[in-house]
């Protein structure tokens, strides 16, 4: 289950903008933002991905009291999830956003997700590649669509080596 509600918070936007290395005051300084065309702090273009913070079941966040697949006493806390036979992994292949308006702190977005297309391709180095789309739509309090995010994941049969 994906997050249903995504509260847009100024502190979260500030931390996200810092993380992507963007010093634009419109992401952290409400006074400076008031003098810009949008007139308020706005979310950076890829901020919507961080709605994962509000997904209670998000599998890439450790859950309190549950084993975690990262290292602790051992290199992994649980057997890693694998789909391929020899250590294949899931990777993010593509991400697209469509923006219908920009979003500011104080709003709460409602999220709806649905699967998109799935297809397969033979990779050069990683064996068979399986691609799948996931579409996430963010609606404002009046029910208007404000952002549509389309993610494409790819699962490989083998670990992808970089050269």
């Amino acid at each position: 289950m994906a997050a249903k509600k995504f509260p847009i918070e100024a502190g979260h936007i500030m931390m996200f903008a810092r993380a992507v290395g963007d010093p634009n005051p419109i992401y952290h300084d409400a006074d400076a933002a008031a003098d810009t065309e949008p007139g308020d702090v706005i979310a950076p273009p890829t901020f919507y991905q961080s709605s994962a913070q509000y997904d209670p079941d998000y599998f890439l966040r450790p859950k309190i009291g549950e084993p975690w697949f990262g290292s602790g006493k051992n290199p992994t806390g649980v057997p890693p999830k694998r789909t391929g036979g020899d250590g294949g992994t899931g990777l993010h292949a593509e991400q697209r956003f469509e923006y219908f308006r920009h979003v500011s702190p104080g709003e709460t977005l409602t999220i709806k997700t649905r699967p998109g297309n799935t297809w397969e391709r033979q990779g050069k180095r990683g064996g068979k590649l399986t691609f799948s789309e996931n579409i996430t739509e963010y609606f404002d309090e009046s029910g208007e669509l404000v952002v549509r995010a389309t993610g494409v994941g790819v699962r490989t049969e083998k670990v992808v080596e970089s050269d």
Binding site: V20, D22, I42, P62, T76, P80, H92, E94, E98
Partner: protein, 140 residues
């Protein structure tokens, strides 16, 4: 200030350096802000001993977010209508990244001037790490 159509031509480019030396700490910052704590991005022991990679690597979305700074610095705040990339190569700690937008088209739609951009980010070896497209509302 937003980009002006009267001041650009198809084929124009805008280039911005994103980092000289991507740190593991910045990758950790991104994990914290985005909520994506996949150990492949911060846990050296898991990544080398279990997953079999040479070291941790950046979230694709970190590179997309860093590249987004170049796009919004070019077109103006709150002007994007679309932004999408393919992740073509992994980004490793220590990489230097440079992002470029190229003007593909300037067009009118419903009385609004739009610019279509090709976007790409390369590492210190000139290898493309993300490539994609963006569209923004611009001034006439």
């Amino acid at each position: 200030m937003a980009l002006q159509a009267s001041k650009i031509q198809v084929g124009d480019t805008h280039t911005q350096k994103l980092t000289d030396d991507l740190s593991r700490t910045q990758i950790v910052q991104y994990a914290g802000a985005s909520g994506d704590y996949n150990p492949l991005h911060s846990d050296e022991i898991f990544t080398t001993k279990v997953a079999g990679y040479p070291t941790v690597f950046a979230h694709g979305m970190l590179t997309m977010g860093m590249t987004g700074r170049m796009v919004t610095d070019y077109v103006g705040d709150g002007r994007l209508t679309a932004y999408g990339v393919r992740f073509t190569r992994q980004v490793w700690p220590g990489d230097a990244l440079t992002a470029t937008a190229t003007v593909d088209a300037v067009r009118e739609e419903d009385g609004q001037t739009l610019v279509d951009l090709s976007v790409s980010t390369v590492n210190q070896d000139g290898d493309v790490v993300v490539m994609g497209k963006a569209t923004a509302k611009i001034d006439p």
